[in-house]
């Protein structure tokens, strides 16, 4: 059989199983906002594990991870460095979030914060900002899927077709099953990703160098020792500074747990225990970064000079005499990485946009049914906008996305204060959030103004915390009974 046919068959089978696993939960969820957004708060630890793992590791990890290892060496270890730190706050914030959600019916992050700080404005703004950040994120996932199919099929499947077909599948199961569709399909996609990463990551060093140790010895004797020395290289190829590496790890770790599409998954858990278990197990999922980075290292000596580092994985695979079925499986793996993040983002952006912004702007409160319908309409709308960006516009989305990490991290101080600091006030929270966002933005646009070569998010966080604390202390305390329900959220409900 011809290579392309085999690849197409493998990819089609993968897409079909994704679709099925995504649609089946439709039979079990209630047809309501709670069913759509948080799966009736009934997600078990097994599904949660994959939702947490697979929604974090996107097409960016599958393509960008090896790309970083290939072009910047040890700089890529930062993905490992922040993952293990970033998950820890979830262990403490997650169960509190879950309890409040169960008791007061929250389904999104902004909803919880807006209630604590008694601010409809906060909800509307956070909702809009989330959608604005999540759309390019989704576009990136679509581009990744389209790109891989295009390269591997040697142009037979153009990018717009690949991205289109893949995301129509995603659209269908998100529309039908909401977050449970995301969960079930992520369990399947997560397994595919993990298996593929480990197989390829161990196979390539063995096939090319006769083992992982030999590979690194050869990289060193070829004069690339600086690459393997932390913190690796910058994009320009110079040694990266500890200022840069350290602050990037810090900001990413702080932002990790408050990404809106990630944070709101706490609401979906069946119980505190299952939520905690899935968080505790996260490092085992993270281990798949090891083979992912090995893939990139494997290409350094054999395939030097590839300009577009993110394309290194498909580039290598096309040049090795691999059986068609392996290439097909690799395609499925990349699609799985793309879809498992893309579906979560699409679902969250649509839910957040309606729940936190639109429903707070209309005069009459929406009924559950209206809200549910609007959410599904916005799934289609947001999917379509992201797709337009993916195929029509050629803007540098990676830069946009990396820029957004510093912005997202600014949510952390107010989330932390909501749970742990009684004295935090509405004015303090708003001042901290917007001050932090503004400072982050200034140093993102004018990095030369920064006193130290650190990630702009660090400056944003500093301004954020200073404003949050000082303005809170200068203003009248918030209503104690409202504050109490948040700071006491650690208590076991009777």
């Amino acid at each position: 059989m011809e290579t392309t046919t085999v690849i197409l068959i493998v990819v089609s089978v993968y897409l079909l199983i994704s679709l099925m696993t995504g649609i089946i939960p439709y039979l079990r969820i209630s047809k309501s906002v709670t069913g759509f957004v948080v799966g009736d708060r009934n997600m078990n630890a097994f599904i949660m594990y994959f939702v947490i793992g697979a929604s974090i590791f996107s097409a960016f990890a599958f393509l960008g991870g090896p790309g970083w290892a290939y072009s910047r060496g040890a700089a890529a270890f930062y993905l490992i460095g922040y993952g293990i730190l970033g998950i820890v706050p979830m262990y403490f914030l997650g169960p509190r979030t879950w309890r409040l959600g169960k008791r007061y019916g929250y389904v999104t992050q902004a909803e919880l914060l807006a209630d604590r700080f008694d601010s409809r404005f906060l909800s509307i703004i956070l909702g809009f900002l989330s959608v604005i950040v999540l759309i390019p994120y989704l576009t990136l996932q679509m581009k990744g899927a389209g790109y891989v199919l295009d390269v591997i099929s040697e142009g037979m499947i153009p990018e717009w077709v690949g991205a289109g077909v893949t995301y129509i599948i995603v659209l269908i199961y998100v529309l039908y099953s909401g977050v449970m569709g995301v969960g079930w399909s992520n369990a399947f996609q997560g397994m595919i990703m993990m298996v593929l990463a480990w197989v390829l990551g161990l196979y390539l060093p063995n096939a090319l160098y006769g083992g992982v140790g030999n590979m690194f010895s050869e990289i060193m004797s070829a004069g690339h020792e600086a690459m393997l020395t932390a913190p690796g290289l910058t994009a320009a190829g110079d040694p990266w500074s500890w200022w840069g590496y350290g602050s990037a790890v810090f900001v990413s770790a702080v932002g990790f747990s408050v990404w809106p599409h990630f944070f709101m998954r706490s609401f979906a858990a069946r119980s505190e225990r299952s939520l905690r278990l899935s968080i505790v197990m996260y490092p085992t999922f993270m281990m798949f970064l090891i083979p992912i980075l090995l893939i990139g290292f494997a290409a350094i000596i054999y395939f030097p000079g590839v300009e577009q580092a993110d394309s290194i994985l498909p580039y290598v695979l096309m040049r090795l005499e691999l059986p068609a079925i392996v290439i097909g499986l690799f395609c499925a793996g990349t699609l799985a990485a793309s879809m498992s993040s893309g579906d979560a983002i699409l679902h969250s952006a649509a839910s957040v946009g309606i729940r936190d912004s639109i429903s707070k702007l209309v005069r009459n409160p929406l009924t559950d049914r209206q809200e549910h319908i609007l959410m599904r309409i916005s799934v289609v709308l947001i999917g379509f906008i992201a797709y337009l960006f993916a195929v029509v516009l050629d803007v540098s989305l990676v830069a946009l996305l990396l820029g957004s990490y510093g912005g997202v991290a600014q949510i952390f101080p107010i989330v932390f204060a909501a749970f742990y600091w009684k004295r935090a006030t509405k004015a303090g929270a708003l001042a901290g959030l917007f001050g932090g966002l503004a400072v982050n933005m200034i140093f993102l646009i004018f990095p030369e103004m920064a006193p130290f070569p650190m990630h702009e998010g660090v400056y944003g966080l500093a301004a954020n915390v200073i404003l949050l604390v000082s303005v809170s202390l200068l203003t009248k305390p918030d209503a104690p009974e409202r504050v109490k329900k948040f700071t006491d959220s650690g208590r076991i409900p009777e």
Binding site: G81, L85, G213, F216, Y245, P283
Partner: protein, 75 residues
């Protein structure tokens, strides 16, 4: 001090150690390419070691949390 609170303090201390070990300043002393450990450069193996330590610390906290379902307050 009950064991619930004590465990959380121990966890916080280990977390700070992990943060320092995987970033500046401690990581810079373990940032070299050599020696190779299980075939991986020191800089790589060092981080993986701390991910494993982090995992077992979380697991320990989870197990000890579950052993004491009657704790008065959760941090």
């Amino acid at each position: 001090m009950n064991s619930y609170k004590r465990n959380r303090i121990i966890f916080a201390v280990i977390f700070v150690i992990i943060a320092l070990a995987t970033n500046w300043p401690v990581y810079q002393w373990m940032s070299g390419a050599e020696p190779l450990i299980f075939g991986l450069p020191l800089s790589f193996a060092w981080l993986i070691l701390w991910v494993i330590i982090g995992f077992f610390t979380l697991l320990w906290l989870y197990i000890s949390d579950n052993r004491e379902p009657e704790h008065p307050e959760d941090l």
